[in-house]
Symmetry: C2
Subunit: 337 residues, 2 copies
């Protein structure tokens, strides 16, 4: 593991937080309480939340880190492993923040073009990783914005076939299957990211977590800012884990609705990509977004190679019906039979 | 301004967030709501909170950025301005995270030794800044952990006398006077940091803000992660600003108590440093911390050059009386009359 870690981080000692029990706490320059005990800094290690996540994921507490959204966790990974000028590699198209973060952290970024925006030739991708001498491979899986998915066996091929830190961002995994989180102890270079912003549906609290073997986690904690996750997000995260039944019901609903929306888009000839996530990417055109917006419906359009493509989130049944109806009407008005 | 900005940042475009009004929102892969609308990502620009801060600080909204604690804001500054191997300079002793962050961001760090842990020879410090070719000067003012303060006139000398980005971390300014926030439009290289964790006493929500001229703010926003501040901290931040009367009352109480605690420590011969913050640094010894801990009282001890020093936060009247009594008892037991 050590060989992957940045020189500066090898020498770094994490900021120490006093977590002893107390009757009077005058060690952290906190103010006088006037709001439900929020004068105290949050638990730096989010012990309760990490314990609950440990139960849900069947990973050890020492294999987990929680963060201010997956964004913070991606940054922690770059801080731990990426020296200036080293390469981060992903697929293309994918989540645009991977490139932006890499740039911010002085790295170089290259995306491996998917065939038809969905298929990844794994053997060729592994060669690409090796050719780029990638320090970090990061894959959104299921992939945002395409909805496509790389099977577990293929991820294992990448893990075996490359000498990089491999980050699998499973933000949308609950809408699919085939997580690689059970492999973190088989591959010392594997990191899995998860979020509460999608299936758990609490994006407002900005909560993500990372699972990896203890040795990786130990190094990443060295670059984590103290008190990175506020107290209330820790609390609501616990409530979300307690409310797994509601969450699961909504996941099932979204999967059914995804099927329905996909078929509608397919019938309209819009080449929707089969989706393993809670959204669908399809070939609209560059006016459709404005048309939908005129009805107060927001979807996501793209530029560059994805110009004309639209990504629509699977919402409630009513929302999906409405958006499908409007898309249908748009194409009927445009090309009436 | 542009001359200070990192090359990579000059080319960077910030991640774009759709903030149009809507009746149906299917553009951000958010889940189905089950918890008070928290399925939505927080406002990326924290418009309401920034507006309220603008009123309080009399700065324009375009001169302010809110973040996940001052920690995030310090990181944003390093991301925007610090190229690898460039120097960050501060005073010594000071807040230890400045050095840790600099290391993480590939910079070099040097602290200018205060005389008697409290006095800064400004002319000499300016020479030091110039000798180190510092890219960034960061000053905790009032200074943590010493409680000492650099007057506004001296800060202006630094601003005029050095060609660095000058960051004044005013985490404790409400316990003092002499903020430089009114100077952000006079000096293009000035950045002021503030926090809700000390005088506002809501450390649990992790909320800080930054004030600087528009041109700096524009560049820093390019490296800000989308949705960096969760929705609930935005809400509670607004409540804290609305509760300014309670906050001000507590500030007055702390200032009175600070006087009382300082005098007690002085009488005990513990050389307390005159404090402009909500804590006092004094010369204890390396057993005092353990003695206090045995009564469930947490204070902060230090190593290195500050070995034997203790920093005690000013708490409620009862807490302060208790800690003073115990410190008194410790020294009486140790050296009875």
């Amino acid at each position: 593991m050590k060989k992957y870690v940045r020189k500066a981080v090898l020498d770094l000692k994490a900021y120490e937080v006093n977590d002893a029990g107390y009757s009077i706490k005058l060690d952290a320059n906190e103010g006088i309480d006037w709001y439900d005990g929020l004068n105290r800094y949050p638990d730096n290690q989010a012990v309760k939340l990490v314990k609950a996540l440990s139960d849900v994921t069947e990973k050890k507490e020492s294999e987990l880190i929680v963060g201010n959204g997956s964004s913070e966790l991606i940054e922690l990974i770059l801080k731990t492993f990426l020296e200036p000028q080293e390469y981060v590699v992903s697929i293309d198209p994918t989540f645009s923040m991977y490139k932006i973060f890499t740039t911010i952290y002085n790295g170089k970024y290259e995306g491996y073009k998917l065939v038809d925006n969905q298929y990844c030739d794994i053997e060729d991708f592994i060669e690409f990783i090796s050719k780029m001498k990638a320090k970090i491979v990061i894959l959104s899986n299921p992939n945002n914005p395409t909805g496509s998915f790389i099977e577990k066996e293929s991820i294992e091929k990448i893990l075996k076939g490359s000498d990089a830190i491999v980050v699998i961002d499973e933000a949308y995994i609950e809408f699919s299957s085939g997580s690689v989180i059970d492999l973190i102890n088989e591959y010392e270079n594997l990191i899995v990211l998860r979020t509460f912003s999608k299936a758990y549906a609490v994006a407002g609290i900005r909560l993500g977590y990372l699972a990896a073997n203890e040795s990786i986690v130990k190094y990443i904690k060295r670059v984590k800012s103290p008190y990175n996750l506020n107290a209330i997000s820790q609390e609501i995260g616990l409530k979300a884990l307690d409310s797994i039944d509601v969450v699961n019901k909504n996941i099932e609903l979204i999967k059914e609705e995804r099927e329905k929306v996909w078929k509608s888009l397919y019938k309209l000839g819009l080449n929707p990509i089969p989706s393993y996530a809670n959204f669908i990417l399809f070939q609209g055109d560059d006016k459709l977004n404005d048309y939908l917006k005129s009805f107060g419906i927001l979807v996501r359009e793209f530029g560059g190679d994805l110009k004309g493509y639209i990504r629509v989130t699977i919402g409630t049944r009513e929302e999906n019906d409405k958006v499908i109806e409007k898309i249908g009407r748009y194409y009927n008005e445009k090309c009436p039979n």
